[in-house]
Symmetry: C2
DNA sequence: TATTGTTATACTCTATAACTATA
DNA sequence: TATAGTTATAGAGTATAACAATA
């Protein structure tokens, strides 16, 4: 329900004397959550699937040779238990299959089935149209501009620890 | 654990022939999820609280006269049941209080307690430092630039329905 | 012993729907 | 009858930890 309209939104959580960075973040978050929420809703209503499942398929589509559960865990940035669950669902739907790993009998190579590949490509095409629609608020030039700016932010964020930076623990201290 | 490093990340889910909008979205999502995850982790480890609780306090801080549960629900863009739960927690912690609404005996006016106000201000000050740290990848000018660009995107997104736009339902049809 | 993957469990976040008490 | 708030339930999404099989 709070999805249908945005009379108020996350950005309204600004405090009175707000710093530039906070304002920027709240606006960015409002946009990102809105886009993500639209995508989740549409994946559910149009394709009866979820974002994690879609993401896992996208990973496999790029690697026809398949990926192990551990590799999927790394790429998707979630823990192994989750990958098992999502893979179970997709396997039950006939979208992916676990095949024995050639060199390691503990591991699997997870691959798209032909049906899974077809279905993913259908979804990816529609997904791309959604993206075009959602970002139509920006011209091609503006999109490039933000894309370039985000590269810098992303690089910076990569160097930030989830723990506060007060006296940042060095890797050596973390033994 | 996948929080600690980003060797791979959401952006790696790009498909081979990717449109500009998709690339942009994946990069934006990677940044937004990273920032949000850092904030959630730090709120938990530093203040033993969560983002929804922090957001609710932020709403109340701006309205010393208090807000009803329904108003909180609108501002926070979540359903009523959630607001009840979060408010229950904060009330148990002594951060907020429900007082009878002057004109409607069904409703409450939720307000910060003095202790809640002090604690929130402490958290807000630290939160602002986190934002400054996280967005230090951009100069003040770049921040302004993105902030302005996001205004346009946000406005555009406000007009987009969560349901696919194929043949967009008009409000009249939604009777 | 270390690693791959699974299982079991739990917690956060959110939505829906039935319910109550007022209005 | 409609509205404010609560309760109960469900499901997505994620993490942790104990475990089995294999390396």
């Amino acid at each position: 329900m709070p999805d249908e309209d945005l009379p108020y939104d996350l950005e309204s959580r600004v405090i009175d004397d707000h710093h530039q960075a906070i304002k920027l973040w709240l606006r960015m978050l409002a946009c990102a959550t809105r886009v993500e929420s639209v995508v989740r809703n549409r994946l559910r209503s149009e394709f009866a699937t979820t974002l994690p499942r879609f993401d896992l398929l996208a990973q496999l589509e790029r690697k026809p040779a398949g990926l192990t559960m551990g590799e999927l865990s790394q790429h998707l940035m979630v823990t192994g238990g989750n990958v098992t669950g999502v893979t179970d669902q997709l396997e039950a739907e006939g979208m992916v299959k676990r095949t024995p790993h050639p060199h390691d009998r503990r591991a699997f190579s997870v691959q798209l089935t032909p049906a899974g590949k077809r279905q993913f490509r259908r979804m990816a095409a529609v997904h791309e149209q959604w993206m075009i629609e959602l970002f139509a608020g920006w011209s091609a030039e503006e999109k490039s501009q933000v894309y370039a700016l985000l590269a810098g932010l992303k690089k910076h964020l990569g160097g930030i620890d989830a723990a506060p930076a007060k006296r940042s623990k060095t890797k050596k201290e973390m033994t």
